[in-house]
Amino acid sequence: MTHSLGENTATRTASPEGPVVAGGGVQTPSPAPGPRRGKRTDWGKALEIIVLSAPAVVVFLMFVIFPVVMAAYYGFFKWKGFGPPTEFVGFDNYLTIFRDTAFHDALLHNGYIVVLSLLLQGPAAVALALLLNQKIRGRSVIRVLIFVPYVISEVIVGTGWSLMLQSAGAVNDLLTKIGLEALAVDWLSDPRIALWSLMIIISWKYIGFAVILFLAGLQSIPEELSEAAAIDGASYWQIQRTITLPLLGPTIRIWAFLSIIGSLQLFDLVYIIWGQYVSATAGTSTMATYMVLNGRLAGNYGYGNAVAVVLFVISLVIALVYQRYVLRRDTEGALTERKK
């Protein structure tokens, strides 16, 4: 992209060092040369475009696009990460991934996390947003407080929750105190329960984001609509079901999209709480923790990159399918015809 841009100006300005020259150009707001407009403004404009967009484009291509492309390349090699990769193995890494039951488990866990995140957080968040959208006192304080879990880092969430969920931790102690010893279980290491503990933590951390997003969506719905419906005799629930929820649809669909992508990429919380090795036995490993464990930590960089590619392709396919069939109506304007 930069290349074509660069050439473009090179031919126009006859000065290949576009950005450098332009650095000086910024300070010359030469009092508008009335006559010679046409050509001059043309290059001036091209130069401005280059100067203003080149830094972002270069940084973006170098640190986002280039690594992603390189992941695809490294994925075809058996490589320990030093020197240029030489041992080309074709699709061997990919075959290994698809045969490894540890990867199947990780993929399955990601699948559970995607579905459970949507089911646990979605309805609860919509309900809470509807509730908090009423004009109640202290609403702004509430909004700040419910966003707290989202704002603090995964490391803090992981550290705090793993201390609370220890078998002799605060949660079990509290359950015992209120007479629910039966519910005091081994939250983190029992493979039948660990995934649910993870879901509790994920829901706790991210539901505030969903609620705030939905609140923002609700506030952009004109009040006149529900007022009119109320005058026509519609009940509160009828109004929510037939007016508010359909109009909140686009926001819900965007949230679901973000949630799905986030669930597929989940790494931090699992890695922090279950460490490097326990996640597989506790049944909470994800594709990303599998990637780090079998790639970087095992020193198999080629293999790790192949896992990254698989993870990326899975996310991309899901994202594209979702955009094609679910988001289509909502994003048509957002990503394409927004020229003017």
């Binding site: 074509s4 640190f63 986002v64 995964e154 201390l163 686009p250 970087r296 990254a308």
Partner: protein
């Protein structure tokens, strides 16, 4: 002028409850109160736990401090390691924020107000970046940073963080910049300022609400970032707070109270920043969600 600032988030005005707020039904408050309790309960556990001793925590894991002890907090506050990590996190956060705002504002200005052939393609390129989370790129990114000789440096995490924050930044800022009326640009032109003069004198101040939104998001993301520092920073001297919290909690795993004190101190800056600018961020998100 202030009215103008609000344009992209016009919905915001309705957010602010006006003088006459009815109390509403008590049930609403009960549920809201419960939900808030669930949200901040674990955070309070971390903060209060720091005021207890290990003996208190072992004897009664879910109790309140009794008596309150401040030693844990004082010890952490007196430790040079903590302050070094705060410093590293702060430098990384500030540099990331400045970089994101500067690069993002410039390129968004181009995308919002210049008409040229590659405009659409460029916007799509950045928008597609939303599909490339850091998880996918992390291994090659690590190799790239290593080859650039930026391992264990703040630069090694700042540059990728800027790059990965650009898509969100652009998606939030472009609508803000588009909303600046053409008349202002024309007026500026009549007053003899070129397009760049217009950019610095009008666009930068007028897009301030959007800039604050993306700036805070970038700062908080950098302050909390874990995966990238995990790969790039191996030397304890260069650790940022998230790595520090993790290292501290495994090093002092038996000293739960001190771990909790360390943890709660490390979340303060992000919390303060966020509470101060919560409205703006939600306003910015509203614009982005509506597309």
């Amino acid at each position: 002028m202030t009215a103008l600032l609000e344009t992209p988030t016009a919905g915001k005005q309705t957010l602010r409850p006006t003088r006459k707020v009815a109390w509403g039904s008590p049930m609403t408050y009960v549920i809201a109160f419960l939900f808030v309790g669930i949200c901040i309960g674990p955070v309070l556990y971390i903060i209060l736990g720091g005021f207890r001793t290990n003996a208190q925590i072992t004897a009664d894991p879910s109790g309140l401090p009794g008596p309150w002890v401040v030693d844990n907090y004082l010890e952490v506050l007196a430790s040079p390691i903590f302050w070094r990590q705060v410093g590293n996190s702060a430098v990384a956060g500030v540099l990331t924020t400045l970089g994101v705002v500067a690069l993002g504002l410039m390129v968004s200005f181009v995308l919002a107000r210049y008409d040229f052939k590659l405009n659409g393609a460029m916007y799509s390129l950045f928008a597609a970046g939303l599909m490339f989370p850091m998880t996918v790129a992390i291994t090659p990114l690590y190799i790239l940073i290593r080859d650039l000789g930026l391992m264990n440096t703040i630069g090694g995490i700042v540059l990728p963080q800027i790059a990965f924050a650009l898509p969100t930044t652009i998606i939030i800022l472009v609508p803000f910049l588009r909303a600046i009326p053409k008349e202002i640009e024309e007026a500026a032109a009549i007053d003899g300022s070129g397009r760049l003069g217009f950019f610095f004198r009008m666009v930068v101040p007028l897009s301030l609400p959007g800039v604050i939104t993306v700036g805070i998001l970038a700062f908080v993301a950098s302050w909390n970032s874990y995966m990238l520092p995990l790969f790039i920073l191996n030397d304890e001297m260069s650790y940022t707070l998230p790595l520090g919290v993790q290292a501290f909690s495994s090093q002092y795993s038996v000293d739960t109270a001190r771990v909790l004190a360390f943890t709660s101190l490390s979340m303060i800056p992000a919390l303060i920043f966020f509470s101060l600018f919560e409205r703006r961020i939600v306003g910015g998100l509203t614009g982005a969600v509506k597309g």
